[in-house]
């Protein structure tokens, strides 16, 4: 499909500017990556409400917690790999447990970080964040949805993790389509297989759905942009209709979206299922598109997975 590309980081910056304009309680923190995460734009506009903590992610989360329990709505940003792994205990103890109103908006998530390689490719961040009580996990599909997600988490009281990518991603949602935390959206209706995904894999699934249609297969594409709390109702409705499911995520298949979906289905409506995502391994350097191919994050992979699960349905 011919896609228009959008930048999630740019939309994050836009959303922050809009929120910052309206709400003086919004404070933004970064750990020396503000020009990459684009919190620098908020910093330029509202310097008194921006704090750079330097290269110190543990302190980033603790300081954010202190501001949050003092009545501030705090956005804390850095790369996803550092925002979740480097300071997981600080997030657990100072943010999740005390229910601090901190929004961790991490950029450069997933394999498409590209050339920086495995040290910087967060493929475990969804897993790390979704095990924490009180924490919401949101993985917007594109820039448009990133903007809406950032605005939505600012209104929600409690800790949230918003996962954004580095590269521009295809625009799969409409500017006027509604976004609600905890609500999945059906981007394409179908009856033979459910393709459930988040982040830029939503676009990949839409491409796969096109390819499947040419083979006479009707695929339903579910944008599961909130990984936690998972919209079990929409998921079950879709899978009850189609009878099988493929999940797709730019994340390890261990404990990411696929696992969250499997957890619901296994308990409420077991169905043939396949998970597309990175296997149990680290990434490597390369161009974003090359890496997506190498790690099987492609429409071809989703298409063949769909055919496989359809074949496993008991008829």
């Amino acid at each position: 499909m011919k896609w228009v590309y959008t930048s999630q980081r740019k939309e994050y910056a836009n959303a922050l500017l809009d929120i910052g304009q309206k709400r003086t309680d919004v404070v933004v923190l970064d750990a020396d990556l503000s020009s990459s995460t684009r919190t620098s734009e908020f910093a330029k506009k509202f310097p008194e409400r921006f704090f750079n903590v330097g290269i110190a992610e543990q302190n980033l989360m603790g300081t954010a917690a202190g501001l949050a329990v003092s009545g501030k709505t705090v956005f804390a940003s850095t790369f996803a790999v550092f925002a979740t792994g480097r300071c997981w205990d600080q997030i657990r103890q100072s943010i999740a447990y005390p229910n601090s109103n901190v929004k961790i908006v991490a950029t450069h998530a997933g394999i498409t970080v590209g050339g920086d390689g495995a040290s910087h490719q967060a493929l475990e961040d969804i897993a790390l964040m979704r095990t924490l009580p009180n924490m919401y996990v949101i993985v917007p599909a594109d820039g448009v949805e990133a903007y809406k997600a950032v605005k939505a988490v600012a209104e929600h009281v409690g800790p949230c993790y918003v996962r954004l990518g580095r590269s521009d991603v295809p625009m799969v949602t409409a500017i006027d389509s509604p976004f609600e935390i905890g609500k999945a959206t059906i981007l394409r209706e179908g009856s033979d297989v459910s393709l459930v995904s988040c982040g830029q894999m939503v676009a990949v699934c839409l491409d796969a759905a096109e390819a499947l249609q040419e083979k006479g297969i009707s695929a339903e594409v579910v944008n599961m942009s909130t990984v936690k709390p998972l919209d079990a109702q929409t998921l079950l409705r879709s899978v009850r209709k189609t009878g099988c499911v493929v999940t797709a995520e730019e994340h390890s298949v261990r404990s990411g979206l696929g696992s969250a979906v499997a957890c619901v289905l296994a308990q409420h409506h077991p169905a043939p299922m396949k998970m597309v995502g990175t296997p149990d391994c680290f990434g490597e350097s390369g161009e974003s598109a090359e890496l997506m191919c190498r790690y099987g994050l492609t429409a071809d992979e989703v298409t063949s997975s769909a055919e496989e699960v359809i074949g496993r349905k008991i008829t």
Binding site: R49, F51, T63, G66, V69, S70, Q90, R92
Partner: protein, 278 residues
């Protein structure tokens, strides 16, 4: 500088003694908990809660309040005792410490206990949170002061030094921290496990105003807090030399009572030494 009269000092010393008795009763009732590190800063927390800090127990979220962060969360018993004596919740509830369903968890929990500003327990995180509170007070132009109590052993956690940099970088003169320098940690003396000295020089090098006191001398604690409040543009670190288990002879300087409750015999002796006959 305020001159505190003898009556005030005596009143505070008597209050500290009451808090120490609570610590013995609470840990005995729970048959677990951390008496040693609670007793060592009993005088400091008494000075803060019964003289220095402004707060309203009937209105725990009052915006103008000063805040206390217990970074070494395991020393919760004396914190709870201070909160109860200050009027945040009934003193009788102190004996529910660590019991199922109690709002007095083994380590402080913001969501359960009135007056607790932030959950702690995993060491080394309190100073960062206190700094965040200090930044918020500055943003809101509130005169609130933030007090943070650090264990000396927990200074081995690197996050403290990230926080030390931030507090001086952002000139957080509304943040005052104490190190409860009892020189003991679970595995032994701090200088044997992982040496912290020269501690004064370290905090000075990080840009802090540093004051050294005897952490069991009420007058010195009050004076240090006053001096800290008068310093502009810099956070203050009060290094309080203390004795772990202070007030109970067999607990003083004894690593064994870091995380162990007294038995029946020890319980009786401890309370007797603290002036209470049972």
């Amino acid at each position: 500088m305020t001159l505190y009269d003898d009556r005030t000092i005596q009143m505070l010393e008597a209050k500290a003694n009451i808090l120490r008795r609570h610590v013995i009763k609470m840990t005995y009732a729970a048959q677990s908990g951390h008496p040693g590190g609670s007793l060592s800063y009993a005088d400091i927390i008494t000075a803060l809660f019964f003289k220095i800090m402004r707060f309203r127990p009937q209105e725990p979220m009052w915006e103008g309040r000063d805040k206390f962060v217990l970074s070494k969360g395991h020393a919760a018993p004396v914190y709870y005792a201070a909160l109860a004596e200050a009027g945040y919740f009934p003193v009788d509830d102190l004996l529910s410490l660590r019991k199922l369903g109690s709002y007095l968890q083994g380590h402080p929990c913001r969501m359960k206990t009135p007056g607790v500003e932030i959950s702690t327990g995993s060491l080394g995180q309190g100073l960062s949170v206190a700094n965040g509170m200090g930044l918020a007070a500055k943003l809101d132009r509130r005169s609130s002061r933030i007090y943070c109590l650090l264990g000396d052993g927990e200074l081995q956690e690197g996050q403290n030094w990230e926080a030390a940099m931030l507090a001086s970088h952002y000139k957080l003169d509304n943040v005052t921290a104490f190190v409860d320098r009892n020189k003991m940690q679970i595995d032994g003396p701090t200088e044997q496990v992982m040496s912290l000295e020269p501690l004064v020089d370290k905090w000075k090098a990080f840009g802090w105003n540093v004051i050294e006191i005897n952490g069991h001398d009420m007058r010195q604690i009050l004076d240090a807090c006053e001096k800290a409040a008068g310093v502009m543009g810099r956070p203050t670190m009060i290094i309080a030399h203390t004795i772990k288990g202070k007030g109970v002879s067999f607990m003083e300087g004894a690593v064994a009572f870091h995380g162990k409750a007294p038995n029946a015999e020890e319980y009786r002796i401890a309370l007797r030494e603290l002036g209470e006959n049972i």
